[in-house]
């Protein structure tokens, strides 16, 4: 085991993928000489050369569209979108081309692309640098969507995503790039949990908190704080948003009977809505209360000085826990 930041773990994962498979390419804006604006691709250019680590023109649709052609030619491109808000110009190529070529050609063409997206808020950034666009991609068949929450997962899941024969949209929470954790750099991918599985990161009996990405840490803080009230909260890190591991969530909800889903993205038609709908279909008779969402507001991402009001924090999560437990709660008497 080695203690690494998530940024270093991702960097190590890219190094390993490039070393293991000559068909793997890294491409994106500033990924070469600079090593990426977050330094996730640091050192790759000098190790693997400009043929495999490609500084691209500043054109996101062009980056993904040419990656499609490279996949046609048998390569496995790992594309960096630089910032979450910059993935939108590539949206057409991702949802109309990357997601559909395998289906369109009845399996003749594979699109083993990994689209890395430095993702979500909490870092005091300018507009377009704190977006949570995951629901757009979850809604598109043909894509896999994952979100990492710790350095160990970042290292393993990035390698799994690159090895996967399907396209993977890979969300990396920017505010965790410097968060440290233990990483097993020698882990055998065959032994690691598949990236499609959720993980119970804390067990509990009174309610289940379902989340992903940087919100996992916030949910864990809430669970720790709830101990003072004598509450035992289970926290599930979804890890994968397409597919969603409903079995793990349902097993938990059948035990606790109560569920809160939290994410930074807006509530309307989001991942939380999907989780609640799917779990309600499966576990209706096990539910003791209506599940509650704790999310970003349905607003454009606010200016940095106001983002703490947008990002669901520990108190908003605990308030929702009070509601699903039918406990007196002071913060929001009104059901939204």
């Amino acid at each position: 085991m080695t203690e690494l930041t998530m940024g270093k773990a991702l960097n190590a994962g890219l190094h390993r993928a490039l070393a293991d498979d000559p068909s793997v390419l890294v491409m994106g804006e500033d990924v070469g000489t600079l090593g990426g604006v977050f330094r996730i691709t640091d050192g790759l250019l000098s190790a693997y050369g400009p043929s495999r680590v490609i500084d691209t023109p500043l054109a996101e649709s062009g980056i993904v569209g040419t990656a499609v052609g490279l996949a046609f030619r048998g390569f496995r491109p790992v594309v960096e979108m630089q910032f979450d808000g910059f993935v939108y110009p590539a949206f057409d190529q991702i949802v109309c081309q990357v997601a559909k070529f395998h289906y369109r050609t009845r399996g003749a063409v594979r699109m083993p692309l990994t689209v890395r997206v430095p993702w979500a808020g909490g870092v005091g950034a300018a507009e377009h640098h704190s977006e949570s666009p995951e629901a757009y991609f979850v809604h598109t068949s043909g894509l896999r969507v994952v979100a990492v929450s710790n350095p160990a997962d970042a290292y393993v899941m990035l390698r799994q995503a690159i090895a996967c024969d399907d396209p993977v949209i890979f969300f990396e929470p920017k505010r965790l790039y410097h968060a440290k954790g233990e990483v097993d750099l020698d882990v055998d991918l065959a032994d690691a949990a598949p990236m499609g599985l959720a993980r119970v990161v804390r067990t509990g009996r009174d309610a289940t908190i379902v989340t992903y990405g940087a919100q996992v840490a916030t949910a864990l803080e809430a669970a720790t704080a709830a101990e003072d009230d004598g509450l035992s909260l289970e926290v599930i890190d979804l890890r994968s948003l397409s597919p969603i591991d409903l079995d793990t969530v349902a097993a938990s909800v059948r035990r606790t009977g109560r569920m809160v889903v939290t994410h930074e993205a807006a509530a309307e038609a989001g991942v939380g809505a999907e989780v609640i709908a799917a779990i309600t279909e499966r576990c209706f008779h096990h539910l003791e209360a209506a599940p509650v969402r704790v999310t970003g507001h349905d607003i454009p991402y606010p200016p940095a000085k106001l983002e703490r009001h947008h990002l669901p924090d520990l108190d908003r999560i605990l308030d929702a826990v009070d509601r699903v437990l039918d406990r007196p709660h002071s913060l929001s008497e009104v059901t939204p």
Binding site: S51, P57, T66
Partner: protein, 378 residues
């Protein structure tokens, strides 16, 4: 210093400003830019090109007829564009890779698409024309201009393909698109990437004057061939109704890309004689007189005239070519009428290359639902 746009010619129908080797009257003329690229084209090859153009036109007519009879959901006619499609595609090697739009039926035909493949997309049975690797040609692309980036990426892949026995990999990627697509950001981005990396890719722009109802003047104030040089890509503007000019221009472009000199661009000035698709009514937006002007520039008639003048298209050969085209049309009709739609649960196949638990749940649920009907019927 400022650079004004060239004002010498508009983007549209000034046919005096294009390179040409066969006039609309079927007369062989000389063009300094093209002559060297067609010096070895004999009457036999010219007759072969003519044969493929006749087959393309016959295929197109059958496609329109089958749509009108309710057998196809849609057809995108290519009548009038046979010369650019056949001329450029016949210059390719088998190992080259083509990324076309939805109107390149003639390109697909030349690249070896079977009658089944040619109609399955438009019949609504498949979304593509089968395995693209089997004939080095992707299926019809509907999102305008998206395929130009795929071709450039493929060409970047060619550059990264290990050389065989010391020789550089000399395959070329080719993309076809229209004048409407030239306005798309993806086409500009494709030219940026192609030029920046010197990728072995050829852009073939079939300027057929109309993007559904919008004339090319809405897409551009300059000839489309003028755009490529601004990206660092040399271009050629040819008479798209002259198969020999298209063939020669394509050989120029391919040789450039093959030899490592980088991308090239061809604007083939042509005309879509029919509607955009069978769902379109061009009489609402264009003048019948304009169509007649272009009918007089028919790409098939001029080759026929030239071959006849040379005594290279005797009755027997003409009859053989006609029979060949009829045979193709009959095959297309037969496979169309004989098509059997696949199992409904196959819609869940090949969405993913690896198992996806969410989709597998839906598949099981729908299978159980369908089974319910069978049990009822028992």
């Amino acid at each position: 210093m400022t650079y004004p746009p060239s004002t010498a010619m508009g983007p549209t129908t000034d046919m005096g400003q294009v390179s040409r080797l066969i006039t609309a009257e079927g007369e062989r003329v000389s063009d300094p830019a093209l002559e060297g690229w067609v010096a070895d084209v004999d009457n036999a090859l010219l007759a072969d090109l003519y044969r493929d153009m006749v087959r393309t036109r016959r295929l197109d007519a059958e496609g329109v007829a089958l749509q009108r009879q309710g057998q196809l959901g849609l057809w995108a006619p290519c009548q009038g564009q046979e010369a650019v499609q056949v001329g450029t595609a016949r210059a390719l090697r088998e190992s080259d890779f083509v990324f076309p739009s939805y109107r390149e039926s003639g390109v697909q035909l030349v690249r070896g698409a079977t009658p089944t493949q040619l109609i399955q997309v438009w019949r609504g049975e498949e979304q593509s024309m089968g395995d693209p690797f089997a004939r080095g040609t992707a299926g019809p692309q509907i999102i305008i201009g998206a395929q130009t980036l795929h071709a450039v990426g493929y060409a970047m892949g060619i550059q990264r393909t290990p050389a065989a026995e010391g020789a550089r990999c000399d395959e070329v990627a080719v993309t076809y698109f229209g004048d409407g697509a030239s306005s798309q950001g993806d086409v500009s981005e494709a030219m940026v990437f192609a030029a920046s990396y010197g990728a072995p890719v050829v852009f073939v722009c079939s300027n057929n004057q109309w993007a559904i109802s919008e004339p090319v003047t809405v897409q551009s104030r300059t000839p489309l061939a003028d755009r490529a040089p601004a990206f660092g890509i040399p271009s050629m503007r040819v008479d798209g109704n002259d198969v020999l000019a298209c063939y020669g221009a394509m050989r120029w472009a391919l040789e450039r890309a093959r030899s490592g000199a980088g991308p090239a661009y061809i604007e083939a000035v042509t005309y879509r004689m029919g509607p955009h698709t069978t769902a379109d009514d061009p009489t609402r937006y264009r003048d019948a007189a304009e169509v007649e002007v272009w009918r007089a520039r028919d790409p098939l008639a001029r080759v026929q005239t030239l071959l006849q003048a040379r005594g290279a298209l005797g009755d027997a050969l003409a009859a053989d070519i006609a029979a060949d085209a009829d045979r193709l049309a009959a095959e297309v009709r037969a496979v169309c009428l004989g098509y059997r739609t696949r199992d409904p649960l196959s819609v869940f196949d090949e969405v993913y290359a690896e198992p996806h638990s969410g989709l597998e749940r839906q598949r099981r649920a729908y299978a159980a639902y369908l089974d319910g009907f069978e049990e009822e019927a028992r």
